[in-house]
């Protein structure tokens, strides 16, 4: 259970460029929910995700993960609770290190890295098995430096890394946006499978309508730092890209009219 209470984040406070990226956003995510967040640029969707990950300290509000208040924890202190996949496929992996070494570090997410060899034959065998789950043949290339792989392969591995240790929440930040269409589809299919198989509580940010409609059990639409639409269950299932576009347009006119009065 993820609880976000009145989370507020203002960039450049007191300057002419002041941006209120998050305005008292409150949100509860139940265990096992797959929440898709959609919104325009500057709607606050990435800031919300970054706030949960601990990328900044909020101006006000609270975040708790499974009952633990993490509001004042730094990003690396929260890491044991959070699995992350970034928009940039190069962000999630260490390029000069091998696939096995990257996976080993991910297996130790949030727990101390000791002065002993952890990557022994047994661990290699375990990691080979887990890598085989991806179905990409990478289990035979565990000794390959990860920088030699394609963006899609690296993103698939990042996804695996985020789930090697069960996270309280999996954060996906437009993680298919920088991939070619085929890789994007492959990574999205893999995401679906992993979320289902490991019963992962997931928050996925996307700007792709199709992706937003086709995936997840709940949809949030953000606009100017607030959650404007929160659909789940049948409402979410009935959603089509056309309806979503319409709602978007409505939201925008409503807002701008509202601003004028």
């Amino acid at each position: 259970m993820i609880l976000i209470e009145k989370l507020t984040r203002v960039f450049g406070r007191g300057t002419p460029n002041e941006v209120r990226a998050l305005r008292e956003v409150s949100l509860g995510i139940d265990a096992g929910e797959f929440v898709v967040v959609i919104g325009t640029n500057g709607s606050g969707k990435s800031t919300l995700l970054n706030g949960i990950a601990g990328g900044f300290q909020p101006d006000s509000g609270r975040i708790s993960l499974n009952g633990i208040d993490v509001t004042r924890m730094t990003g690396h202190q929260r890491a044991r609770h959070i699995g992350r996949v970034f928009q940039n496929p190069f962000s999630g992996t260490a390029p000069t290190m091998t696939i096995a070494e990257n996976l080993r570090l991910a297996s130790l997410r949030g727990i101390p890295k000791r002065l002993s060899i952890g990557l022994d034959n047994r661990e290699m065998a375990r990691l080979r098995e887990r890598t085989a789950e991806l179905g990409m043949g990478l289990e035979n290339r565990l000794e390959t430096p990860i920088g030699l792989l394609s963006g899609g392969q690296r993103q698939a591995l990042t996804l695996l890394m985020a789930t090697l240790r069960q996270p309280d929440i999996l954060l996906l930040d437009e993680h298919t946006a920088a991939l070619d269409p085929r890789s994007a589809e492959q990574v999205m299919l893999l995401t679906e499978r992993m979320v289902r198989e490991h019963r992962l509580t997931t928050l996925m940010v996307t700007h792709d309508m199709q992706e937003a409609v086709g995936h997840g059990s709940r949809l949030l639409m953000m606009h100017e730092g607030t959650v404007e639409l929160d659909l789940s269950g049948d409402e979410k299932k009935r959603l089509t890209p056309a309806i979503l576009m319409e709602t978007f347009a409505e939201l925008r006119t409503m807002r701008s009219n509202g601003d004028r009065t």
């Binding site: 690396h76 260490a94 390029p95 130790l108 000791r114 060899i117």
Partner: protein, 296 residues
Amino acid sequence: MELLFGAIALGLAYAFLGMGIFITMRIFNFPDITADGSLTLGGSLTAALLTAGVSPWLAVPASMIAGFLAGSATGAIYTKLKVNGLLSGILVMTALYSVNLRIMGRSNTPLISVRTVLSPFADIADPTLRLLAPILLFLLLVAAFILFLRWLFRTDFGLAMRATGDNEVMIAAQGVATDRMKIIGIGCSNALIALSGSLVAQYQGFADIGMGIGIIVFGLASVIIGDTLAGLFGERFRIGIRLICVATGSILFRGLVAATLSIGLNPTDLKIVTAIFVLLTIMLPQARAAIRGRVR
């Protein structure tokens, strides 16, 4: 013969400098120039301790601890006080100049009449063997440290260290406090550099306040030669082999220095020759690529 042996022994002693620079530059991607101060720190602390009658086998580790502290000071200024990396190194290096003078109490300490790690070899009758003994001792030390570092960078902690230099976003997401890693890493690097200073002082028979001036470029030279050597073997990733190449680079570089001196070059010109040499080695791959591009 003596010149060659001298070059090899010094090359091995300076190999630790190369290994230290390798750690900050290649593993942590951090331009650390504390070296100028920490090498002298190793030399001057060793000199002071040996003169005070301390066993050389205590003086050497003490120098390494001092070097570690100096390096972690640079790391802390860089990470915690958010000072530019190069400037952090310059600050500590500058401060160390005074510290080193305080430690020695003067600018030059001769170590001819005190017991050093090399003293046991002074009584060897055979002149060739007497020259060879320090080389063997240094070689043993270099091998031991390469094995240790190879092990270290394969442990879980070592993997986290490497990832810190390779992709900070990634390793932070795995829950590693990267600031702490950098402080420890820059500390380890300077412990090795101080060890280098300690051995060089004992081999040369004196510690001098100026022994570290411009030494960073010597370390860079061995790292760059080492990388070129490793590249020849197609080895870009395995750390043990890369460290062997760095140590070999250090010996080759000392050989080059000895050769330049033996053809009658003034020792005072050594630094500019070194600088030009390092520049050339850095430029070489670019020049080669440019020429190749033109041919095609």
